[in-house]
């Protein structure tokens, strides 16, 4: 059974939880399409905002939530080609030793994933207090590129600077990388914070993110996947689609819906409500992406 055929059956059976539609992100209908999974198709899983080490009332099951998500990913009938982690792997701490202990524990737990091809980027909780020093010890560079089936992935770091800046050096690096690309090339940007001003009064922005968007704007097929806001959200800046992911610790309120971005309270009747991960099915030839949302635990 190929992946798309499987998804079509899963959707009919209620296994596919959600699919959203935007430019750069197409809707998977209930009949799923049923086409053959071409050599140019691939899919990856996005996990975000794990906040390993968090202890508090907004997730009394924090010590086991990541492990359950790992089990759910491992139970996917068709395993992803790779897995991306879009930041806030750990919850922040002032203690450098504790930060490393949390990063090590996180790395050990996700080591149980069947798929071993992982791509990491930091969130501000991982990197802002030491400008990414501990993160780099465990996971390497905080900005880099890689390619899959003709899709160019660009990982941007908008958190190692505590002021939520990419910085001139990284922007110059981005510009140099983009100068080597065809304007029609499919490009996926992975980052932690929104590159655009989603809700600046909640710190949901990148201070110089508009410069990155300006550099990306001449390219016809750009899609951004990010984290930080602990919920699914879709927005366009021109023809560039931005898709945020749910978290694995606690959900946050809808953008700008209240004065402060306080976490939504834990509901013991519905544990893990609002949490989850997503899979992204890429059609490299069409530069389109199908996003399917999954809960932490599938019933």
């Amino acid at each position: 059974m190929d992946r798309r055929h499987f998804l079509s059956l899963a959707a009919i059976g209620g296994g596919a939880v959600f699919a959203s539609g935007l430019a750069g992100c197409t809707t998977m209908g209930s009949n799923g399409g049923g086409g053959k999974y071409s050599a140019q198709d691939f899919y990856f899983v996005q996990l975000s905002d794990v906040h390993w080490g968090y202890q508090g009332p907004d997730n009394p099951d924090a010590a086991v939530t990541l492990g359950k998500a790992v089990a759910t990913v491992n139970a996917l009938e068709v395993q992803p080609d790779f897995i991306v982690f879009t930041g806030d792997l750990t919850h922040t701490t002032d203690d450098p030793a504790e930060r490393r202990r949390r990063l090590a524990e996180f790395k050990r737990i996700i080591g149980d994933l069947k798929v071993k091809d992982h791509r990491f980027m930091p969130g501000e909780h991982d990197a802002s207090l030491d400008r990414g020093a501990a993160f780099k010890e465990f996971f390497g560079d905080t900005h880099y590129t890689f390619d899959r089936q003709g899709v160019h992935f660009i990982v941007l770091d908008n958190v190692s600077d505590p002021g939520a800046k990419l910085g001139d050096e990284q922007l110059a690096w981005l510009q140099a990388d983009l100068e080597k690309r065809d304007k029609a090339a499919p490009i996926v940007v992975l980052t932690h914070r929104p590159l655009f001003d989603l809700v600046p009064k909640w710190d949901w922005a990148t201070r110089d993110g508009a410069k990155a968007i300006d550099l990306l704007m001449p390219f016809q097929h750009v899609t951004v996947f990010y984290g930080h806001i602990h919920q699914e959200h879709h927005q366009m800046t021109g023809h560039i689609a931005h898709h945020s992911a749910k978290s694995l610790i606690f959900p946050l309120p809808a953008p700008g819906s209240q004065e402060r971005r306080t976490p939504l309270p834990w509901d013991p009747a519905q544990p893990y409500k609002g949490l989850g991960f997503r899979e992204v099915e890429a059609d490299a030839k069409a530069a389109s992406y199908k996003v399917t949302e999954f809960p932490v635990v599938r019933t």
Binding site: H91, E124, L129, G163, P200, K201, D203, E259, R260, R261
Partner: protein, 127 residues
């Protein structure tokens, strides 16, 4: 002209310049004090601004004088397009003259630790 008399002229000129300079400085200080308007001192430390609720009148000139204690916090008032880095050990002044009444949120926008997300306040502009 003898060397002495030339030196005297230069000293007198220098004195005159110094007085003019001092006068200009005083004038600038006076203008600055007037331009500052009411000064509100704000203590800044992880993870709060004190006071966190600052009330001003619409059209009033007010200067927020931030004194950060422990970190390079940020002050960001997005609705008014105002932000500043608040260096510890210094007083950072931000001058405002709100033209619109309302309740405007401000926040620390330099990540400062576990509690950063709660670090903010409100500028209340009375009509």
């Amino acid at each position: 002209m003898s060397a002495v008399s030339r030196r005297q002229i230069l000293l007198q000129l220098g004195g005159a310049i110094a007085v003019v300079g001092a006068s200009a400085m005083l004038a600038r200080n006076t203008a600055a004090e007037e331009a500052e308007g009411r000064v509100v001192e704000v203590d800044v430390r992880r993870f709060k601004f004190t006071p966190s609720q600052i009330t001003v009148k619409r059209g009033e000139v007010v200067t927020l004088a931030f004194r950060s204690i422990d970190f390079v916090h940020g002050f960001n008032l997005p609705d008014m397009g105002v932000r500043a880095d608040l260096m510890p050990g210094r007083v950072t002044k931000v001058r405002l003259q709100p033209t619109q009444a309302g309740n405007f949120a401000f926040l620390c926008d330099n990540f400062c630790g576990d509690g950063h997300e709660t670090m903010g306040g409100n500028l209340i502009v009375e009509g």
